[in-house]
């Protein structure tokens, strides 16, 4: 176990290092500089500004300054909003994004599993077909399209929910539905197919023969084993939800990290681009790492230190 964790940890560190370097290279190949739009800055001011942000140093020196910034997690002040540091922006945006993402994934997991169980128990009946049609639709409709339709229906036509911003639980309903539907559909399909497989196993027959109640059979015996594949794809779903927050934050005018990221790219705000990318990536990679470990802990059949043969 420990060896496995160590191995995963090394891979995690390498991935992060590559992202950090890649971000640096890409960012500095973006045409244009952060001071392009500032008219009337004379050369002395420009030089001063560049010196302040270390932009006058040779690239490799900037790279090391940057590595140091990543290591200490201090990205310095934003270029476009000099009064705020990158950490300030992250501190403001991240809790909002996290809230949006977390609520969505919880809704997705719970409703997806329930939908999957119902479909599996009513296999080949009308309920099964309805549930699976909902699931395929959920996978097919992109979240930003769903968001626009939700706003149209519930905010504009019915006027029962607010269309944008992030200030009360009522404001959270539409964005979280838009974000949770896709992952919910994926989880429902996966749960259904593994449930169908598990329900034919001998130990389920055994449990039935013992006279256990159907609810106990489903939740205590079948579901536990059917959930393993769901745990494995949680990492991927999380990545999807994180990127989904980008576009939904634009549509619903939610002041999260995605908003700062897109803004910073458009304004070449180097420190903010670096900060958000590195932070996002680190968060995501750490989550994938956690999912892997949790998977190993949940399923005793998997010996983590052995080489996986697939």
């Amino acid at each position: 176990m420990l060896r496995y964790i160590l191995k995963r940890f090394t891979i995690m560190a390498v991935t992060l290092f590559i992202i950090v370097t890649l971000t640096f290279i890409l960012m500095h190949s973006i045409p244009g500089s952060p001071f392009n739009q500032e008219r009337g800055t004379n050369e002395a001011v420009q030089a001063n500004l560049e010196e302040f942000y270390n932009l006058d140093e040779p690239l490799y020196v900037q790279y090391f300054i940057y590595l140091k910034a990543v290591a200490t997690f201090d990205f310095g002040p934003s270029i476009k909003q000099p009064t705020a540091t990158v950490n300030d922006l992250l501190g403001r945006g991240f809790p909002v994004s996290l809230e949006l993402g977390l609520v969505s994934i919880i809704i997705a997991v719970i409703s997806g599993i329930l939908l999957g169980i119902i479909a599996a128990l009513r296999h080949n009946e009308i309920i099964d077909y309805i549930a699976m049609t909902i699931a395929v639709l959920g996978i097919s409709i992109p979240n930003f399209i769903l968001a626009t339709q939700l706003i149209q229906t519930f905010a504009v036509n019915l006027k029962i929910l607010p269309a944008a911003t992030w200030s009360s639980p009522m404001h959270m309903i539409l964005p979280t539905i838009a974000l949770a539907t896709g992952p919910m559909a994926i989880i429902a399909r996966l749960t259904r197919s593994t449930m169908l497989e598990v329900l034919t196993q001998d130990y389920i027959k055994m449990a039935r023969a013992k006279g256990l109640s159907p609810a106990k059979i489903v939740f205590k015996h079948a579901l536990r084993n059917a959930l393993m594949p769901v745990v494995t794809i949680l990492g991927t779903l999380l990545a999807g939800i994180l990127t989904g927050t980008f576009v939904l934050e634009q549509i619903f005018a939610i002041p999260g990290m995605g908003k700062y990221f897109v803004e910073s790219i458009n304004t070449r705000d180097y420190p903010v681009i670096m900060g958000t990318t590195v932070f996002y990536s680190a968060f995501l990679i750490f989550m994938l790492f956690l999912v892997d470990i949790v998977y190993g802990l949940l399923d005793p059949r998997i010996k983590l230190h052995q080489k996986e043969v697939k």
Partner: protein
């Protein structure tokens, strides 16, 4: 052996001739193959034909492909020409899907968007196909240290938040169709490589591979002639599912303003333009691109599901 001989010798003379009867026709033909034997692909095709949902998807995609090719040609309107007097017209006999805020025909733009979406999807799938097959094939077949190193690289790429990288690449290279396809391919092949590798890893221990090896076949030939044809099923399914995710990525990026740029039409661009019409009531400007993105992804998804059932012998019941 001796015993049976003895038994036969004892009994054969004692069986009277009238006990023998000619067998009836049905029994005589029992061993004959009555129907033409089906190859794997014919069998799969028959299976797919029976799947109504998948066939609906296939027919829709066929229709979409035809409209994507000929729609903009048949239409009397241009995709980009601005016609301000006719802005925001509701769907009518002259503009079937209405016009947008610059008077451009939404019908024409929708099919132009179909071109872009299908093109991006197919190109992404093709690039994934080649890179994934070569990489996964080599990794799985070589095994050992080569496999170990190649899979570590895949693991690292797999962990990259691909959309962030794609967005950064788009900003660096400038938004264009080529950039989107390149950016999507940079990380997209990883899933395919994993699948091919897993399949090859299983297949390479079979006797027919050993037979090829003992005849002196080279690695390249074994991968191409022995291993890949046998993994085609999962590869095709993976490709069908790559297409909708590429279409999603393109429209997502265009929606954010990082993809296809005005005045050209992509469904993502049109949806983004249409977003502002939610309040003004020009519903057709959002509805048509939204509907076609969703319907296309739906069609590819059900087709992929159908293919999976049709091609995977293990799931047959």
């Amino acid at each position: 052996m001796g015993l049976r001989k003895e038994v036969n010798n004892q009994h054969s003379p004692s069986v009277p001739d009238e006990w023998f009867r000619p067998i009836n026709r049905a029994e005589q033909n029992a061993e004959k193959v009555s129907r033409p034997s089906l190859s794997y692909w014919q069998d799969a095709w028959h299976r797919l034909l029976k799947n109504r949902l998948a066939m609906t998807g296939l027919v829709f995609l066929f229709f979409l492909a035809i409209m994507a090719i000929f729609g903009p040609i048949w239409s009397p309107y241009s995709v980009t020409t601005i016609d301000l007097p006719n802005q925001n017209l509701a769907p009518s006999s002259s503009h079937w899907f209405g016009t947008d805020d610059l008077g451009r025909d939404v019908f024409t733009r929708t099919w132009y968007g179909a071109r872009i979406s299908l093109f991006v999807g197919l190109m992404a799938a093709l690039i994934d196909f080649f890179v994934g097959i070569i990489y996964g094939g080599i990794s799985g077949y070589k095994g050992g240290r080569v496999d170990n190193i190649m899979m570590r690289i895949v693991e690292i790429l797999y962990g990259l938040p691909y959309l962030l990288i794609v967005i950064l690449l788009l900003v660096v290279m400038g938004p264009s169709l080529t950039t989107i396809i390149v950016a999507l391919s940079v990380t997209g092949w990883v899933g395919m490589a994993r699948i091919v590798r897993g399949q090859v890893l299983q297949l390479k221990n079979y006797e027919f591979v050993l037979a090829s090896q003992s005849f002196g076949a080279k690695t390249k030939r074994i991968i191409r002639k022995n291993l890949l044809p046998n993994t085609m099923g999962p590869i095709i399914v993976q490709m069908t599912l790559t297409v909708p995710s590429a279409i999603f990525a393109e429209s997502f990026l265009s929606f954010l303003g990082l993809g296809i740029q005005a005045p050209y039409a992509s469904w993502g661009v049109m949806a983004n333009d249409g977003l502002s019409t939610i309040l003004s009531g020009h519903w057709w400007r959002l509805f048509f691109p939204a509907f076609f993105i969703s319907a296309t992804m739906f069609a590819f998804n059900v087709l992929g599901d159908g293919l999976q059932d049709a091609l995977d012998p293990k799931l047959r019941e």
